[in-house]
Symmetry: C2
Subunit: 205 residues, 2 copies
DNA sequence: ACGTTTCGAGACAGCTTGTTCAGTAACTTA
DNA sequence: TAAGTTACTGAACAAGCTGTCTCGAAACGT
């Protein structure tokens, strides 16, 4: 007994309507009726699928994460022991396809809860990766992996957001990845045009 | 004619009530009456000061930014041409004092708008700094300063949040600053225990 | 073609919002 | 300290939204 076609249809319609409307007016300005109207669905029907607006939003976000992890699976599987920019690249591609959904999540709509869901999922996976890698290579991390993961995810999210908020792609995905790689390799001062000679021990903004 | 003491009192009370309650229940779950009740103020009074909940939240955030920039002013003024971690340090100290307010803003409560206000203010200032510095030293940034600023602010926000969400300070402010400085200087791979030898050109997560 | 599941429209109480108003209390200033 | 101004209160208001329910109609899977 495959899922009823009607439920699929209305769930999709409601999800799309949500994304469109949040993009236009912001989550807190929406009523359930706004959403059902846009989706061309009876209001009562909404409640037979979702508890409330937040529930719908949460499921949209979960769907996004599912899609992402599915895309990431093959890349992680073939994982050479070393480093490739593949995962980030794949995420950027995913963001390009699901641009609007990414936008509303990254903007922190819904009191930041979907964004937190998203961030936490990535941070968790990243921290695990860091630990694994350190162990495999038998090196001692200089900074707590959990914290380091948060920093790294903070960077990614910032760039991702900058990227999806531009109407027209400001830079090819490959360049974005290269940039992040350089940053990870050389640090921020290098990127701003300075190197270790110019900046003494007490460096920074 | 200095400001009436009563207005100061009720505005403070309402602001504090908001912060407390958002921390406890989240912004979207709050009613105006919840806030006025906690602040021990008539509901009608609320509307003679603020348009709605969002307005109140926005002003709380603006106040936070004012406080921050006031603390930053002297540090920026004495600004030696070089780099010191002073501004970040000052921000961490400010966050320690205004911990709860920082928490709710950084969590993205209020559909992320306060957070965006906060982030944008810092990113703008940072980007200007980057540009100034590059010009003063006559070097060419390897990466667009606007983007670089977003990345750097993304890092800061991530760390700040990690810092402020711990009940008991997980690390002295000075160490946090040192860590960020190291990250800016050497990059992420150094922090995770690798160096340029271990990671070849095609590095990263 | 049949039994099952979903959908739609309308009606419901309950709550929140934002405004208004008149009486009372607190404040500033001279 | 008294006079005049300004802020606060509590109550009442229409309007809108929420979440739940019911029943007949329509779409579905097999």
């Amino acid at each position: 007994m495959a899922e009823d076609r009607r439920t699929r249809r209305t769930r999709r319609a409601l999800s799309n309507a949500l994304v469109e409307l949040v993009l236009e007016r912001g989550f807190s300005a929406l009523t359930v009726e706004d959403i059902t109207e846009r989706a061309d669905v009876g209001r009562a029907t909404f409640y037979s699928h979702f508890r409330d607006r937040e529930d719908l939003f949460a499921r949209v976000t979960a769907g996004l994460l599912d899609g992402l992890s599915e895309r990431l699976r093959p890349v992680m599987a073939e994982s050479p022991v070393g480093f490739t920019g593949k995962p980030v690249l794949e995420m950027l591609r995913h963001a390009r396809e699901e641009r609007d959904a990414y936008r509303i999540v990254l903007r922190g709509e819904g009191d930041g809860r979907p964004l937190q869901m998203f961030t936490d999922a990535i941070a968790r996976a990243t921290a695990d990766e860091f630990r694994d890698r350190a162990e495999r290579n038998g090196v001692e991390p200089r900074i707590d992996p959990t914290l380091l993961a948060r920093v790294w995810v903070g960077e990614q999210i910032a760039v991702l957001r900058w990227w999806v908020e531009h109407e027209t792609p400001p830079m090819p995905v490959e360049d974005v990845v290269r940039m992040l790689l350089d940053l990870g390799l050389h640090g921020r001062y290098w990127a701003s045009g300075f190197n270790d000679e110019t900046t003494d021990g007490t460096a920074s903004t």
